[in-house]
Amino acid sequence: MTEEKQGLGLFKSRIAAWPSWAKLVSVAALLGVIVLVSKWLILLLLVALGLWPILVLLGLGILGVVSTRHGGWPWMKEWLGTKLKPLVLPALAVLAALILGGFVIMLTDNAAYQAIGAGQVGKGIGLAFKNLVRAYVALYQGALGSPARILSAIFRGAIGGEGLKPIMGAVRGPSDSLVQSVPYIFAGLAVALGFRSGLFNIGAEGQIGVGWLVSVIVGFSFPSLPGIILLPMAIIAGALAAGIWGALAGLLKAETGAHEVITTIMFNYISFRLSEWILCGPLENVQGTCRTKDVVPAAYLPKFLDHPVTMHWGFILALLAAAATAWLLFKTTWGYEMRTVGTNPDAARYGGMNVSRTYVLAMFLSGLLAGLAGVSQGLGLTHNIALGFSAGYGFDAIALALLGKSNPVGVVGASILFGVLRAGAARMQSLAGIPTEIVQIVQSLVIVFIAAPAIIKAVYRLKDDGDESRQTVFSRGWGS
């Protein structure tokens, strides 16, 4: 280990010695190569996601081999313990939610009630259990694909000469999960950034709509521009518009003291009703459809692979946004000011910080992130905006920010979990006839269990480390 680190250090210092232009060129070259092979990288990622149980077992095997050099099981246990510790609680919360959700599925099974009503209690319970297993298998496969199918698809593609097509079909689940998580990540980051600054941004839903609408308008208004200009322009326009929409609430708070909870809720209504008018009125493309024109293909967020894999660059943008948010919050002066204002605005003011400016800035950035959720949906998936676009991402985002403890990494994790559940819901409904609402119940239970770690700790009899409660970031509420 130590040798490796020295080697790495040497490597780093050598790079540091390069002239800055050389660094720039090499970074650009690296990025270029990544973009060129991005299709294959994403395919690899999706296959890895689909095969995760096998990869985990493989990893454990490798670890087992390595551990023989370090003293066997005790070392491995410790290593695993440190790596997995932060994951234990969420994993158990998900498990508990799935078990409770399973009871709900069994209790709402009509076929089972009919059998029980006819006096066949055993058969009824058996039926309910069978349907539960079917539902969860469908949920899993809808969200993460079937490892067996992926393996056979790889085999058929590589040896059977059928090319990529079977693999595409097999990794549709993982792809759907990641695609579904994109708006969740952006919106979750938006709310989390607000929380860190002591602001409760309930207006993410409206900001998503504004970002979506503006990016689509830009996307179809300049059909002659090349994609390399039009796409960034549409993204930036959507993000800026949503940012300004959000900043209005920040400005109201800074200038008049109007509480952002109230103003952002009201701005939601304003943007919903305005967009209804715009979509069924001036911007309606075909009468009676309440839908805008499609953006030109140059403004599409490119997809990595062919149908039915819908993975688009929005996912990469979302990860970059998470990294940028983390950097902003924890590595910059602005971020420090935001966090200080969030912890104690009076102390921040006393310390010479401009609290009003920080509120406006935080709401601007929060709106901007939420707007990107709409932009990624509009330019990545629907390519237009229609009545009924709102899907509650902005409200789920509040839960995601809490779930992720307002930490960008946590938000990404929580969003992917929600994406997985949501992607599996359609398969569950079509195969087992279980309504998608069950997934919402599971999502809600996950949030409840994570918000109240004491329940999980009591149920599974984990030791209380006493450090959980301190991490919970809570927005300063009314009258702050």
Binding site: V56, P147, P308, A426, Q429, S430
Partner: protein, 340 residues
């Protein structure tokens, strides 16, 4: 230690879960025709469009060798994904409900040329070879009902008989009703030498019962004797006004005697648009290798796609009933112009 045990159990369970695959959807048998329905954001229990369509799929599931499933869309971005879900599971026919899915259906139909699609209330121009538009000649039912309404208005108030309508948005599917109603009223005047007036308003909204009620009341103030609701909840508001003022009403889309418990006793009949029958017929046509891909399935009087609801509590004179049923036959035979 305990937590590692738990986690490993969870892992093993997941590996096992992901290994075994469900071959067929629940309640389906091998060889069944697989039919999927993708709802719009209204959901499957909207007491309207989606619910009525699903009723047709359910009937096909029970009576034919068909396995019917649905997916409810939660957002605009879900439409393509949900259609893909069915198409990738090798469904034979995918029914998409309403104009909101027009875009997504066209894109996916191109992606899956071997899958058949049916879309409610939508016709593509140019047509797509594997998509059947499911549309309705509601004017065939509206024309005789306009005649009936005129006759009832004369019954009520022979000095100044008037028929009024409360419409939703002024879009072709709604205008189709109104135009034929008016033609029916005029035909009554021709036949009987009367002067029944026909007037009404488009409120511009399908979800405004209060607006509909206000407009219904002002039509009654002007002398309307029969109110025809035509436009979702807005039209129902017009019927509510008729009920309050002791006038008669005519329902729309389904037999509203069953869906409007408060106004049911003033309903003469309803102009029915049988989404369930239409969907059932389309499924049947696919089984018989007569699927109207690239064309239209037209719900008409002849195939039960549109029709009159039965008379319920309002007494309709025998001779008027006879005249209406004669007109129905004439329209079905193409001998009368409905004005649409």
């Amino acid at each position: 230690m305990r937590k590692y045990t738990l986690i490993s159990i969870l892992l093993v369970a997941l590996v096992l879960l992901s290994g075994c695959g469900p071959a067929l959807p629940e309640g389906c048998e091998k060889g069944d025709l697989k039919v999927g329905m993708v709802s719009d954001v209204g959901g499957i229990d909207d007491a309207s469009f989606n619910e009525n369509t699903w009723a047709g799929l359910e009937r096909a599931d029970e009576e034919l060798a068909v396995c019917a499933k649905f997916i409810e869309s939660q957002a605009q971005a879900d439409y393509e994904k949900n259609i893909t879900e069915f198409a990738e599971q090798d469904y034979d026919l995918i029914i998409t409900v309403g104009f909101l899915l027009g875009d997504a259906t066209a894109k996916m139909a191109e992606q899956y040329p071997d899958v058949n699609f049916g879309i409610i209330d939508f016709a593509y121009d140019p047509p797509i070879p594997n998509v059947a538009g499911i549309v309705f000649n509601v004017d065939e039912a509206s024309f005789p009902i306009g005649y009936l309404a005129a006759g009832m208005a004369v019954e009520q108030d022979s000095d100044d008989p008037q028929v009024g309508y409360v419409g939703g948005m002024q879009i072709p599917p709604v205008e189709q009703f109104i135009v034929a109603y008016e033609a029916g009223v005029n035909y009554y005047n021709e036949q009987h030498g009367t002067d029944v007036k026909f007037k009404g308003v488009y409120v511009g909204d399908f979800e405004a019962p209060d607006q509909g009620k206000i407009q219904g009341n002002s039509l009654i103030d002007e002398g309307a004797d029969v109110i025809m609701g035509c436009g979702g909840k807005t039209g129902n508001g017009g019927l509510a006004a008729a009920k309050e003022r002791g006038k008669l009403g005519i329902g729309v889309d389904v037999d509203q005697y069953n869906t409007l418990p408060n106004e049911k006793d003033i309903l003469i009949t309803s102009t029915m648009k049988r989404l369930d029958n239409a969907v059932y017929s389309v499924i049947e046509s696919l089984i018989n290798d007569e699927f109207p891909g690239g064309g239209l399935y037209i719900g008409a009087l002849a195939n039960g796609g549109v029709g009159l609801a039965p008379y319920h509590d309002v007494d309709v004179p025998e001779d008027l009933q006879q005249e209406v049923s004669d007109i129905l036959n004439a329209v079905e035979a193409g001998e009368l112009d409905t004005g649409w």
